[in-house]
């Protein structure tokens, strides 16, 4: 844990070293998020309510989504790049270190722009999420569960590169898919698509369940969120470990 925190701190300091760029990128991402807020406000201004969703609830979903993506993709930036790193030979340098390679890779780099999401999400929750101490606690709980599912899903997909080769295209597609599906109210999807969102692309666990919990807390839903987080964490670690056993280095790191 100490090594992970130290690596994360180094990654953060690396991003912080270019202060002007740091704040600029955070500002740009916040502006990007504001554009989505405008989209949803305009949408519900025309539509009214949609299957139990209104501006208020969708902004809560968006607050959770930006917090989750800020944590999962901002603080653990390599989670979406694992396949690319494996294909590019960067794994070799991590394997030579006396620490868990997956933990090291995940904490090695922060994405400054996505830290803007991490700042924006809680602010949006405070502004539009009817914050009370109880709701804030559930918001944090939901965001943590959603982050674990997102990172676990992306790491598992990236680790497929250890078995199947390629340049991590499957992880890129999975990343796009989960973020897009997680950006929309789950209830607009029906039948098979909904089943898809609880299984193959678990976007429902990233934003759908956490939003539902903050709106009205129910223990079975909370337990489902924890179970999904545990499952995807286990899936990620297992896939990476098994893949690592099959991995044979391309020795690309010796180029350095």
């Amino acid at each position: 844990m100490t090594v992970a925190l130290a690596t994360l701190r180094t990654a953060f300091l690396e991003a912080w070293s270019n202060r002007r760029g740091f704040w600029f990128q955070i500002g740009i991402m916040a502006a990007n998020d504001v554009a989505w807020v405008i989209f949803w406000v305009l949408f519900f201004r025309q539509v009214g309510t949609l299957k139990g969703w209104d501006t208020h609830k969708v902004l809560l979903l968006f607050a959770i989504l930006t917090t989750v993506s800020g944590t999962g993709l901002g603080l653990f930036s390599n989670s979406r790049r694992l396949g690319e790193l494996i294909a590019g030979g960067s794994l070799d340098a991590a394997l030579a270190l006396p620490t868990n390679p997956l933990t090291y890779l995940l904490t090695r780099r922060v994405d400054t722009a996505l830290l803007g999401d991490l700042a924006f999400g809680p602010v949006l929750f405070l502004a539009a999420g009817d914050p009370t101490p109880e709701r804030a606690l559930i918001f944090v709980f939901g965001a943590i569960c959603g982050t674990v599912v997102l990172v676990g899903f992306l790491v598992a997909l990236g680790s497929v590169t250890l078995f199947a080769g390629g340049r991590g295209e499957q992880a890129d597609l999975g990343f796009q898919a989960i973020l897009i599906f997680a950006s929309y109210p789950i209830d607009v999807f029906g039948g098979l698509t909904k089943l898809f969102l609880f299984t193959a692309v678990p976007a429902a666990f990233v934003t759908g369940l956490p939003t539902s919990l903050v709106s009205s807390f129910r223990w079975p839903v909370a337990l489902a969120a924890v179970a999904a987080a545990a499952f995807f964490a286990l899936l990620a670690v297992t896939t990476f470990r098994i893949g690592l056993r099959r991995y044979s280095s391309g020795a690309l790191w010796t180029r350095a």
Binding site: G21, F24, Q25, I28, M29, A31, N32, A35, I38, F39, L42, F43, R45, Q46, V47, G48, T49, L50, K51, A113, E169, D172, L173, Q176, A177, I180, F181, Y184, V188, F189, G190, T193
Partner: protein, 258 residues
């Protein structure tokens, strides 16, 4: 001119060979269409069958056309151009006996046309299966040149926007802002009729509308040929702007010694 046409041809062939990238992009587009089909179908159903003059049928054709026209260009092109400028890599292109921005635009156009055709073919099938044929044959006939003009406007505007890197050195992240302007004021996410009246009028007068709204409006069954004239005027203006920005930027690099 022959150099530019050769560049368009070469880059189109290159894009056709990069099947993996093309497949990922088309799959991404199909995914968006599936989501928007569900969203807009539910929304129109909840509103008695139409919103702001659009039925579910016309809205889905609108979305397919708008997304397809925008997704044909690379989303992070501004970042890539900005990087080439700030790193100095662009200097090698200045040695060629041809316009830097002209060759870049030709290369991007070749690739974008391949992606446009592939995306619209897949999108057309998905929407057709979902809601039936396009609302108007005349509208679709006008949509074809409109989508090409939309891609041209988008490419020219991105080059003009990215040219700021000649002065700012790091304009890479501005692609986020540009993209959102196209999404909202260009009518990619929502038809401009969904915006408040004053804002909709402003948006229709901006170049972003030529990149998504114009082709999508035509594909959604609104036969308004004057939209093509607006797009052509914007294309000429944006090409002149991109050319001017790059010429001034290149002069600056020569003076500073980039």
């Amino acid at each position: 001119m022959s150099a530019l046409l050769a560049q368009v041809h070469l880059s189109a062939r290159r894009a056709m060979r990069q099947r993996g990238e093309l497949a990922v992009r088309v799959a991404f587009y199909a995914l968006i269409l599936v989501i928007f089909s569900a969203l807009w179908s539910a929304a129109t159903k909840a509103n008695g069958g139409s919103i702001a003059g659009y039925t579910a049928h016309s809205l889905l054709w609108y979305v397919a056309a708008a997304e397809g026209s925008v997704i044909a260009t690379k989303p992070r092109m501004i970042e890539a151009i900005g990087w080439d400028i700030s790193s100095g890599a662009i200097v090698t292109e200045m040695l060629r006996p041809a316009s830097v921005v002209g060759l870049r635009l030709a290369a991007e156009l070749g690739e974008a046309l391949v992606r446009l055709v592939a995306s619209l073919a897949v999108g057309g099938v998905i929407v057709w299966l979902y809601v039936g044929p396009p609302p108007s044959a005349a509208g679709i006939a006008l949509f074809v040149p409109a989508s090409v003009l939309a891609v041209g406007c988008n490419l020219a505007a991105q080059h003009a926007f990215a040219g700021a890197a000649f002065w700012l050195r790091d304009a890479r992240s501005t692609w986020f802002l540009y993209q959102k302007l196209v999404f909202l004021l260009g009518g990619m996410l929502l038809p401009l009729e969904f915006l408040p009246t004053g804002l909709a009028d402003v948006a229709k007068a901006l170049p972003f509308a030529a990149m998504a709204y114009a082709p999508a409006r035509l594909a959604s069954g609104h036969v308004e040929p004057w939209l093509l004239a607006v797009q052509a005027a914007w294309l000429a203006a944006l090409l002149a702007c991109a050319g001017g920005v790059f010429r001034a930027g290149e002069r600056r690099l020569e003076v500073v010694g980039g």
